[in-house]
Each structure stands twice: as structure tokens, then as C-alpha cells.
């Protein structure tokens, strides 16, 4: 019997990788087709970004800059967080700027704006401005010049309009007003914002990073060099939840008709609120949270793979030792 078991594990060790691929695909497809409600708990680095952006609500002398430092390869993780933050800004009347320094990030930036704008009556140049694409070679000069004068650093927006002529720029001069920069990256790109915008001008910097980069950024969170961080799909799911619970909160009026009633962040509310995924009609507003269901199953699968692989390894090791 024992011998038989060992043979089974040995066979399992030599399993063709394509069977493993099939299991991986199924572990993701099934939970996406059979959705279930899983609770996303919100972490402090996400809360901090939300609270900071929310504090700019309705102010003409405050703005957020979103810097898109990634291409389509990591879109699955970063795009939902970009849409969620933009939605937050549009919902709460927060002035927002977007910029990118990679050609392949430009269409992503446009796509994120286009997606988030749906359902909002926001106007380019008044509620938001797309600064467009600038080459990587002038990334540092641009972020440094923004410390003196954003209109001089960027000069023209994506539509070729001079920034100084845009109403949104009336009360915005430099990092004192554009008080938060959120960098979305699959690399250590946020570090240059920390090095140049934070160290030299004291700008608040936050990161929306792929999970690969998340563990490396905890040191900057502890020092306060980053005021907050969204890490991977989980970070995106957390932000989506915060936007739904607070910024997009609805309450019935006297006639029982649901009306927008945004509310301030509160730990108590977030703890006791449960949002049913089926109640959110727009799929783009819940992409990350739906994805987290599949993520749960996939993580369990990987853990099982590690355990099975190790059992097989130890059994064959013991067998080898016995033979010797």
C-alpha cells in the first residue's frame, strides 16, 4: 500500500505541466461564472488615499495628479484602481489631472477617463485635465518644474490648449495646491516622485502598484514618504468598496426615491456595511471585487500545489534515502 502511495506521488511529481495549466484555468473560470459575495476588508494605506482625496471635495484650490506609469500588461491590476479613483473624484467634485510618460500608457489613460466619466457631467478643462503624454526623458524635469509652476512644466494639455487659459488652473499653481500625486506603476516609478516631488517640495505622494511591487513599498509607508498605497487587485477592490460605501452612497428621499447622499469616511460604517455585488449594475465598478473571488480560489489552489509538491518531494527523498 505504502509503495503504491509513493508511486502515485512520484507520478504526480512528473505530471505534464499542461494538466497544471488546465487546473489553473478552471480555478479562475469557475468562480467567475458562479459568482459569490466575498467580504473585502479595507486596509489603512487604502483608507488614507481615500480620506486625502475626499478632503479636496468641492475645493478649487486643491487637485489630484494621477500619473499612469504602466502599459496594458498590468492593466488587470491597475485599471480598476484608476477607474475607482477617477470615479471618486468625479462623484465628490475633486479636481483631477492625468499625465503619462510612456507612449503605451497614453491610450490606457484615455480609456480610464472615458470609462470613469460615464454617467457624470464633467467637462475637460473645468473638472479635470488630461495633460497627455510626455517622453520619459523629461519625466524628472517635469516633476521638478511642477514644484514651481505646473502651467510652465506642462504648458499644453492633451487637446493642445494652453494650461494657463483653462478655468481649472485658476487657483492651482504647484504642489501646494496639487497636493496629492498618485502614481500607478508596475515598477519602482513612484520612487522618483518620492525623491523629487516629496523630498524637494514636500508633495504628498501615494502609490497604486501591482502586487509584485507592494511588499517593497511598506518602508515608504512607515516613513510617511508615501501617504497611502493600493496594492494589486486587492487594493483596487478596497477602493471600489470605499467609493460605493461613501462617495456613491444613496438614500431615499421623502418620496422613497433613491438620491445621492455622499458621506464622510467612518471606520464603523465600513465595518458594518455589506454590499451585494448584484446590486451594482455597472460591471466596470466592481471588476476588482469580482476578480477577488477568483483570486481566493486561485490562492488556495497554489497553496495546495505547494503542499502536494512538497509531500511528493519528501516521499521521494525518503525513498531515495532508504535505497542508499
Amino acid at each position: 500500500m505504502a509503495d503504491k502511495k509513493m508511486n502515485f506521488f512520484e507520478k504526480m511529481q512528473a505530471l505534464d505541466r499542461r494538466y497544471i495549466y488546465l487546473v489553473v484555468a478552471l480555478a479562475i473560470i469557475i468562480p467567475l461564472l458562479v459568482p459569490f459575495n466575498s467580504k473585502t476588508y479595507v486596509t489603512e494605506p487604502t483608507e488614507n488615499i481615500y480620506k486625502k482625496i475626499d478632503s479636496f471635495s468641492g475645493r478649487n484650490d486643491r487637485a489630484v495628479l494621477l500619473c499612469f506609469d504602466h502599459d496594458a500588461s498590468t492593466m488587470a491590476e491597475l485599471f480598476p484602481m484608476e477607474v475607482a479613483i477617477l470615479r471618486h473624484c468625479f462623484e465628490r467634485d475633486v479636481q483631477v489631472f492625468t499625465i503619462c510618460f510612456m507612449p503605451t500608457a497614453k491610450p490606457l489613460m484615455d480609456y480610464a477617463l472615458q470609462t470613469a466619466k460615464e454617467g457624470y457631467e464633467v467637462q475637460s478643462g473645468v473638472d479635470y485635465v488630461n495633460f497627455g503624454f510626455r517622453p520619459w526623458a523629461i519625466r524628472i524635469p517635469t516633476m521638478l518644474k511642477m514644484g514651481d509652476d505646473i502651467s510652465e512644466a506642462v504648458e499644453y494639455d492633451d487637446e493642445g490648449r494652453k494650461l494657463t487659459n483653462l478655468p481649472i488652473m485658476k487657483e492651482i499653481m504647484n504642489y501646494n495646491e496639487m497636493n496629492l500625486v498618485v502614481d500607478f506603476a508596475a515598477s519602482a516609478a513612484v520612487l522618483s516622485w518620492i525623491t523629487y516631488a516629496r523630498a524637494r517640495f514636500g508633495a504628498n505622494v501615494a502609490a497604486g502598484v501591482t502586487a509584485v511591487m507592494a511588499a517593497d513599498n511598506y518602508i515608504y509607508l512607515q516613513t510617511g514618504q508615501l501617504i497611502g498605497m493600493l496594492g494589486g487587485l486587492k487594493g483596487a477592490a478596497e477602493y471600489e468598496k470605499l467609493v460605493d460605501v461613501f462617495a456613491c452612497h444613496m438614500e431615499p428621499d421623502e418620496n422613497g426615491i433613491m438620491q445621492p447622499a455622499p458621506r464622510d469616511f467612518s471606520k464603523e460604517i465600513i465595518k458594518n456595511t455589506w454590499i451585494k455585488m448584484s446590486d451594482i449594475k455597472n460591471r466596470m465598478h466592481k471588476t476588482a471585487r469580482i476578480g477577488m473571488n477568483a483570486q481566493t480560489v486561485a490562492h488556495l489552489m497554489i497553496i495546495v500545489f505547494i503542499i502536494l509538491g512538497n509531500i511528493g518531494y519528501f516521499i521521494s527523498k525518503r525513498k531515495k534515502n532508504k535505497v542508499n
Binding site: 511529481q13 505530471l15 505541466r17 497544471i20 495549466y21 487546473v23 489553473v24 484555468a25 466575498s38 467580504k39 473585502t40 476588508y41 502599459d71 496594458a72 500588461s73 492593466m75 488587470a76 507612449p103 503605451t104 497614453k106 491610450p107 490606457l108 484615455d110 480609456y111 477617463l113 472615458q114 517622453p135 520619459w136 526623458a137 523629461i138 524635469p141 521638478l144 510652465e152 512644466a153 492633451d158 487637446e159 524637494r200 502586487a211 511588499a215 517593497d216 511598506y218 518602508i219 512607515q222 494589486g232 486587492k234 477577488m292 473571488n293 483570486q295 481566493t296 486561485a298 490562492h299 488556495l300 497554489i302 497553496i303 500545489f305 505547494i306 502536494l308 509538491g309 512538497n310 518531494y313
Partner: protein, 207 residues
């Protein structure tokens, strides 16, 4: 002329930049404005380099009819086609340029990297072994963080997200800080070497 003058440009401008960090004088600010205007005018040509390189590699393949040269034709046709579409109809939302992004570039870019999910799962099964105590510690930390990130972690036990949080904020933080300080010192040293003209590899070979 060939090497010394570019080196001098780096050294002189570089040291002015060091001073610029500490001196908020008008002359310092004017210098920065001048640099900003010049570097903006220089920058568009930098992108040409990548395009030229791609053209040269693939046109050589086509000329020499190397195996699979037909794919080089596809690459060059896609390059020219995408560029032309951008010039003719513009690059704003709703143009064919955006359509190409949404339906050609984006799906492939995203899929290319998603292949890694299969490879990491296969590696988890075939290669991640607790061969030593250190490797076991690594695996246990990884499993806790993996469970701590997904909703099921908190369902299994409230301790899992707490343990994951602790790992990330204490031992992970110490580890990454130790490494980051080394990297920071290395970066500063390399920058200094460039400023002093000791490090010259970025200029390319030749005399």
C-alpha cells in the same frame, strides 16, 4: 570633441544641478528653466532611436530572408499601419487609433503577462520545496501573505490577516529597508561616478 566635450557637459551641468538643490537663487531658477526648455526640444528625437532600431533589425531579417522572416514583414506593417492611423485620424478617444489599442495592443499586452500565472502555478507545484529551514520560513511567510490578501483568510481565522499585516509591517519592512539602504547608497555612488566622469558606459563604446 568625441568624448571629452559630452563628458564636460555632464560634469558642469551635473554639478550646477547639485548646487540647484541647495540654492534657491534666481540664477539657479533661471538655469533650471533654460534646461527644461532645451531638454523638451531634445526629447522627441530620443524616441526615434527605438523605432530606428526596430526597423533595422527587421529589415535586415527580411533582406536576408532568415527563417520566419515573414513575421518581420508583419511587425513592420503593423508599425507603419499604427503610425499612419494615428497621423490620419488623430489619437483621441473614438478614433481608429484607440480602436487598435483596445482590440489589438491591449488584449495582447495583457495576455502576454497573464501567461506568468500558469508558469508560477507550475513552479509552485514543481519547484518550491522546503529544502532548508530558510526555504521553509520563506514558504510559510508566502502562504500567510497569500491567505491574508484574500477574503477567505479572514473567514479561516481573524489571525491570518493580522499575521499577514505583521509580516509585511515588521520583518518584511526591516528586510526591505536593509536592502533599500544598500540600493540607495549604490545609486548615490553611481550618480557621483557619472558626475565625476568615472562611469562612462552610458555614452556607448568607441573613442
Amino acid at each position: 570633441m568625441k568624448r571629452q566635450i559630452p563628458l564636460l557637459i555632464v560634469i558642469i551641468l551635473g554639478f550646477i544641478f547639485v548646487i540647484h538643490v541647495f540654492v534657491p537663487h534666481k540664477a539657479s531658477a533661471d538655469f533650471y528653466d533654460w534646461y527644461q526648455t532645451w531638454i523638451k526640444a531634445i526629447s522627441p528625437f530620443m524616441v526615434l532611436l527605438g523605432i530606428m532600431s526596430l526597423f533595422m533589425v527587421h529589415s535586415t531579417k527580411i533582406k536576408r530572408k532568415v527563417p520566419n522572416w515573414q513575421y518581420s514583414v508583419v511587425t513592420l506593417a503593423s508599425l507603419i499601419g499604427t503610425g499612419a492611423v494615428g497621423f490620419i485620424w488623430g489619437t483621441q478617444a473614438g478614433t481608429p487609433f484607440m480602436w487598435l489599442f483596445k482590440n489589438v495592443q491591449m488584449p495582447m499586452g495583457a495576455t502576454m503577462f497573464s501567461l506568468l500565472a500558469f508558469y508560477i502555478a507550475s513552479a509552485a507545484y514543481k519547484a518550491f520545496r522546503a529544502r532548508s529551514t530558510e526555504a521553509t520560513v520563506l514558504l510559510i511567510a508566502a502562504i500567510i501573505v497569500m491567505l491574508g490578501q484574500v477574503p477567505i483568510g479572514i473567514k479561516i481565522s481573524k489571525l491570518i490577516p493580522e499575521a499577514s499585516h505583521w509580516i509585511l509591517n515588521v520583518p518584511n519592512l526591516a528586510a526591505k529597508r536593509g536592502i533599500a539602504m544598500g540600493v540607495g547608497l549604490g545609486m548615490t555612488a553611481t550618480s557621483l561616478k557619472i558626475l565625476l566622469g568615472i562611469e562612462r558606459t552610458y555614452m556607448g563604446g568607441g573613442k
